[in-house]
C-alpha cells in the first residue's frame, strides 16, 4: 500500500496535479535562485579573495540594478500569486452538484455521515470520479481535515460549518490526518480515505446497515421539534417557507442579502435572532443546547433536500455555492 521511503505524495485527486505543477515550478525557481546566489557567493569569495596587491573596488551602488532586481522578482511573484490564487479559488468553490458528506470532529476522532445515512468513524469511503463536498464542524476545539493525497486541508471549527471538496481520480487508500493541534491524541486522530470503483462503492453502500438517510432523519426531527408549526410549506406561516431556501439569496430585514448556506441554516436554528428575514418577526426560539451536532447535521441535510429538484425538473436558480 505505501512505499517504505516515499519522497513524493501520490496525487489522487483532480486538484492534486495542478498543485503539484505549481510546486514543481516553485522548486525549479527556488532551486535556480538558490544555486545562483550560492554560486555567486562562492565565485566572488574565491575570485576576489584578499591577496597582496589586490585592492577592493569601492562601488556605491547602481539604481538600474536596484530597479531591475526589485521589478523582476515582483513580476515573478505576481505570476506565482495569480497561479496559486486560481488554484485556490477552484479549491474553495465546490461544484453545485457535489455529493455531501457531513463530518463532525471531536477529540480525538472523525465522525462521518453520508447523505444516504451510512456512518463511519475515522474512515471515509467514496467513489472515484465524483465530486464530494465535506460539510464539517467540531464538537470541541479546532481540528483540521487533511488528506495529503488529495492536497486538501480545511480547519474544522466549533460553532460553524466549514467546507472542502475533492474529486478523487485514483482508487486506493489514503491517509486522513488531523492537522490542527487539538490535545493529547492529536497525532492519533488519523484515519483513511478509501476510494473505490463505482461498482465497489455501490456494494459498500448497500452492505452497511443504516438508520435511514440523513435527510429522512432530519425530516423526522423537524416534525418532532415542532418546526412545521411556523415553517409551513403550503401556506404562509409565522416563519419563512423553507422549500427552496437552501442555496438562495435571502433578504434580511436590516437590508442585507445573505446566501442561505449550511452555516446560515445552522445559525438560524441556534441563534435565530442573528438574521431576521425581511417581513418576519423575531419570534423563533433558540435550539441552542436542545440539538446535538449530529441532529443539526440531519436538519441541515433535510432543509437542503427541500431545494433539490424532483427528478427531471430544473432546480431553483441560485448563485454558485462557495462565494
Amino acid at each position: 500500500m505505501f512505499d517504505n521511503f516515499p519522497l513524493w505524495p501520490v496525487p489522487a485527486s483532480s486538484g492534486a496535479r495542478n498543485i503539484d505543477a505549481l510546486f514543481i515550478f516553485l522548486v525549479l525557481l527556488a532551486g535556480f535562485v538558490s544555486i545562483a546566489i550560492f554560486t555567486m557567493i562562492v565565485a566572488f569569495a574565491l575570485k576576489y579573495r584578499h591577496r597582496p596587491g589586490h585592492k577592493a573596488e569601492q562601488i556605491e551602488g547602481s539604481i538600474a540594478l536596484e530597479v531591475t532586481w526589485s521589478v523582476v522578482p515582483l513580476a515573478i511573484f505576481m505570476v506565482i500569486f495569480g497561479w496559486g490564487a486560481i488554484i485556490y479559488f477552484r479549491e474553495r468553490t465546490p461544484p453545485r452538484e457535489a455529493d455531501a458528506v457531513y463530518v463532525v470532529a471531536k477529540q480525538w476522532m472523525w465522525k462521518l455521515e453520508h447523505e444516504q445515512g451510512q456512518k463511519e468513524i475515522n474512515e471515509l469511503h467514496v467513489p472515484v470520479g465524483r465530486d464530494i463536498k465535506l460539510v464539517m464542524t467540531s464538537q470541541d476545539v479546532i481540528h483540521s481535515f487533511y488528506v495529503p493525497a488529495f492536497r486538501i486541508k480545511q480547519d474544522v471549527l466549533p460553532g460553524r460549518y466549514t467546507t472542502a471538496w475533492f474529486h478523487a481520480t485514483r482508487p486506493g487508500v489514503y491517509h486522513l490526518f488531523c492537522a490542527e493541534y487539538c490535545g493529547t491524541t492529536h497525532s492519533g486522530m488519523i484515519g483513511q480515505v478509501v476510494v473505490l470503483e463505482p461498482a465497489q462503492y455501490q456494494a459498500w453502500l448497500s452492505g452497511g446497515i443504516t438508520s435511514g438517510s440523513l435527510a429522512a432523519n432530519g425530516e423526522t426531527l423537524f416534525q418532532q421539534l415542532g418546526c412545521p408549526t411556523c415553517h409551513r410549506s403550503e401556506i404562509q406561516g409565522r416563519g419563512p417557507n423553507l422549500v427552496g431556501v437552501f442555496g438562495s439569496l435571502v433578504q434580511l430585514e436590516d437590508g442585507r442579502k445573505v446566501l442561505a448556506d449550511e452555516n446560515y441554516i445552522r445559525e438560524s436554528i441556534l441563534s435565530p435572532n442573528a438574521k431576521i428575514v425581511s417581513g418576519f418577526k423575531p419570534i423563533m426560539p433558540t435550539f441552542q443546547g436542545l440539538v446535538s451536532e449530529d441532529q443539526l447535521t440531519a436538519l441541515v441535510a433535510y432543509i437542503k433536500s427541500l431545494s433539490q429538484p424532483p427528478s427531471g425538473a430544473a432546480g431553483p436558480a441560485r448563485p454558485a455555492p462557495g462565494t
Binding site: 505505501f2 517504505n4 519522497l7 505524495p9 498543485i19 505549481l22 510546486f23 525557481l29 527556488a30 535562485v33 538558490s34 546566489i37 557567493i41 566572488f44 569569495a45 576576489y48 579573495r49 584578499h50 589586490h54 577592493a56 569601492q58 562601488i59 551602488g61 536596484e66 532586481w69 515582483l74 511573484f77 505576481m78 506565482i80 500569486f81 497561479w83 496559486g84 490564487a85 486560481i86 488554484i87 485556490y88 479559488f89 479549491e91 474553495r92 468553490t93 477529540q107 476545539v141 479546532i142 483540521s144 495529503p148 492536497r151 480545511q154 471549527l157 460553532g159 460553524r160 466549514t162 491517509h175 492537522a179 490542527e180 493541534y181 493529547t184 492529536h186 497525532s187 492519533g188 462557495g322
Partner: protein
C-alpha cells in the same frame, strides 16, 4: 606566535567595579548587554534541550520515548522559550544594547535605568516560565489557539501566558530606548544617511516591537482572563469567535518574525562590508528595505490563516500582500551579494556566518514564496514544510546572524580574540548540521506529515532519522562557541581597538571600551563604511 605584553591594566567597563551589586544594579548598557547574554544563553540551552527530546522521540514512528501529553508540552515550551526568551531578545538585547549607543556616538542609551528594568522584566518572566515548566508545563502550542487553550487544556496556560506577557513588556522597553536614542542622541555630524545599517535595522525592529507587542499583550491577557474568570470572549458556545483570537495573535506574531530577522540582517550588513573591504552596495536600498519590511510586515498576518476559515477574498488580499513583503528581503540579499563583487574577501569566522546566513536565509525566504501561494499553502500549511521554512529563517538566518555578530564584536566586548580555527570549525559544523536537520523536513511536509505529531506513519521514518542525526551535529556546533568564548576571556589573545579594521564608531574606542564609551564624543565628518580609508588588518604594519 607573538606573546602580547600585558600593559598596566587600563580601566574599562568590566573592571571598573566588582561584585554582585555592581552587576545587578548596573546601568551601563554594556554590562546590561552581558547580563542579557547570560540570560538568553541559558534559555537557548533549555529550548535546545526540549528540541533534542523532540528529535529523539521522532526517531521512531511510535510514541515510545515520552507520553503524548509530555510531547505536546515539549513542542509548546520549545517554541515559547525559543521565541520569547531567546530569539526576540537575542540580537537587540545583547548586541543592540552593547553597540547602539557606541555606534551613534553616545555615552549610554537614553534611559539606562529603564534598560536595567527591561532586563529584570525578562528575568522575572523567565523565572515564571521556569516555574511553569518545572511544575507541569503547558501544552497549548506556542500559538495558544482557542478554545483549546482557554477551555480544554489542563495545563498551566495562565502562568505561561503571564510569563510571556512580562517578557513582551521587556521587549517594548528595549525598543523604546533604541528609538529615543537613535532619534535624539546621535553625535554631531552623524546624519541618518551616515548611520550604520545595524542602526537602521534596529530602528525598524524597535518600531515593530513598539507597535506589535502590545497587541500580543492584550491578546494573552484576554486568554488569561477567559481562563481564570470564565469570560467567553473566544468561546463559540457563548457567541465568541476563535478566529478573533487568531487574528489578534497573528497581528503581533507575524511582525514578530521580522523582529527576529531584521537585527540579524543588520549584523550581516556590518560584517560583509568589513570582510570585503568595501562599502555596502546600495546603502539607501538596504536602509529603506528595513523600513519597508517593518511596514509591510504588519499587513500580512492572515497568511497564517488561509485554511482557518477566512473568506476567499481576504485570503487573496493577504496572499498578494505577502508577496510584496518578500521584495525588500530579496533586495537585501542581492545587495549583500553584490557587495562581495570586486571586494577583497577575508574568510574569518564572522564572514563564514554571514555567507552562511545569506545562503540559508535565501532558501528560507524562497520557501516563503511557496507558502504565500494559496493553492500550495492549503497542502503544506500545518505540516513539516512550515517548520522547515521558519527554522531556515530563524535558525539558519537569525541564529547564524547572532553567532556571526557575537564573533565579530567579541574582541570589542571582551578585549580578547576567540580561537579563529575553532570558530571556523564551529561555523561549518553549524552549517552542515543545520541543513541535515531541516532540509529533510521540507520533503516530509510535502509528503503530508503534519506538525506537532508525537507519532507518525512508518513511511516518514527515514527522513525523520536524518533530521535527528543532523540535530546532534547542530548541537555540537552550538556548544563549541560557548566553551571557547568562555575560554578566551581568560586565555584568549588580547585584542586591540580594531582587530578587523572595521568601520564604525565602536571601533574607534578601546577594547573593551571604558564605561563612558568615548574619551570625547566624536564629530562625524565621514560616510559610513569608509573602507577606502581604513586599512585592512594585514596592511597595518604592527602585527595583531
Amino acid at each position: 606566535m607573538a606573546t602580547a605584553t600585558i600593559p598596566v591594566e587600563r580601566e574599562h567597563y568590566l573592571n571598573t567595579d566588582y561584585g554582585f551589586r555592581s552587576w545587578l544594579l548596573a546601568t551601563d548598557h554594556k554590562r546590561i548587554a552581558l547580563l542579557y547574554l547570560v540570560t538568553i544563553t541559558l534559555f537557548f540551552f533549555i529550548g535546545g534541550f526540549f528540541a533534542l527530546l523532540i528529535r529523539l522521540e521522532l526517531l521512531t514512528p511510535a510514541g515510545d520515548l515520552v507520553l503524548a501529553d509530555t510531547y505536546n508540552k515539549l513542542f509548546t515550551m520549545h517554541g515559547q522559550v525559543m521565541v520569547f526568551f531567546f530569539l526576540i531578545p537575542s540580537i537587540p538585547a545583547v548586541l543592540g544594547n552593547f553597540l547602539v549607543p557606541m555606534m551613534v556616538g553616545a555615552r549610554d542609551l537614553a534611559f539606562p535605568r529603564i534598560n536595567l528594568l527591561s532586563w529584570y522584566l525578562l528575568v522575572i518572566a523567565g523565572l515564571m516560565m521556569l516555574h511553569c515548566i518545572i511544575t507541569g508545563g503547558v501544552d497549548s502550542g506556542w500559538t495558544f489557539y482557542t478554545p483549546f487553550s482557554t477551555a480544554f487544556s489542563n495545563t498551566k496556560v495562565i502562568e505561561a501566558g503571564l510569563a510571556i506577557f512580562t517578557a513582551g513588556f521587556s521587549s517594548i522597553l528595549t525598543g523604546l530606548n533604541f528609538v529615543v536614542t537613535i532619534h535624539r542622541m546621535r553625535a554631531p555630524g552623524l546624519t541618518w544617511s551616515r548611520l550604520p545599517l545595524f542602526i537602521w535595522a534596529h530602528y525598524a525592529t524597535s518600531i515593530i516591537q513598539l507597535l506589535g507587542t502590545p497587541v500580543l499583550a492584550i491578546t494573552l491577557l484576554l486568554v488569561v482572563f477567559e481562563r481564570a474568570f470564565h469570560l467567553g470572549i473566544f468561546d463559540p458556545t457563548r457567541g465568541g469567535d476563535p478566529l478573533l483570537f487568531q487574528h489578534l495573535f497573528w497581528f503581533y506574531s507575524h511582525p514578530a518574525v521580522y523582529i527576529m530577522i531584521l537585527p540579524a540582517m543588520g549584523v550581516v550588513a556590518e560584517i560583509i562590508p568589513c570582510f570585503s573591504r568595501k562599502r555596502i552596495f546600495g546603502y539607501s536600498a538596504v536602509a529603506m528595505s528595513s523600513i519597508a519590511i517593518a511596514v509591510f510586515g504588519f499587513l500580512v498576518w492572515a497568511h497564517h490563516m488561509f485554511v482557518a476559515g477566512i473568506s476567499l477574498y481576504s485570503a487573496m488580499i493577504f496572499s498578494i500582500l505577502s508577496y510584496l513583503v518578500a521584495v525588500p528581503s530579496a533586495i537585501k540579499v542581492f545587495n549583500w551579494t553584490a557587495t562581495m563583487y570586486k571586494g577583497s574577501i577575508h574568510f574569518d569566522t564572522p564572514m563564514l556566518y554571514a555567507m552562511g546566513f545569506i545562503g540559508l536565509f535565501t532558501m528560507g525566504g524562497l520557501t516563503g514564496l511557496f507558502l504565500a501561494a494559496l493553492g500550495i499553502d492549503v497542502h503544506v500549511t500545518d505540516t513539516y514544510f512550515v517548520i522547515a521554512h521558519f527554522h531556515y529563517i530563524m535558525v539558519g538566518g537569525a541564529v547564524m546572524g547572532y553567532l556571526g555578530g557575537l564573533h565579530f564584536w567579541w574582541p570589542k566586548i571582551s578585549g580578547r580574540l576567540y580561537p579563529e580555527w575553532l570558530g571556523k570549525f564551529a561555523a561549518l559544523t553549524v552549517f552542515l548540521g543545520f541543513n541535515l536537520t531541516f532540509f529533510p523536513q521540507f520533503i516530509l511536509g510535502y509528503l503530508g506529515m503534519p506538525r506537532r505529531y508525537w507519532q507518525y506513519p512508518p513511511e516518514f521514518q527515514v527522513l525523520n532519522v536524518l533530521s535527528t542525526a543532523g540535530s546532534t551535529i547542530l548541537a555540537v556546533g552550538y556548544v563549541l562557541p560557548m566553551i571557547y568564548f568562555l575560554w578566551s576571556m581568560r586565555y584568549g589573545k588580547i585584542a586591540d581597538a580594531n582587530p578587523w579594521g572595521a568601520a564604525g564608531l565602536e571601533w574607534k574606542t578601546a577594547s573593551p571600551p571604558p564605561t563612558e564609551n568615548f574619551e570625547e564624543i566624536p564629530e562625524v565628518t565621514w560616510e559610513a563604511y569608509n573602507y577606502d580609508e581604513i586599512p585592512a588588518p594585514e596592511e597595518v604594519s604592527v602585527g595583531g
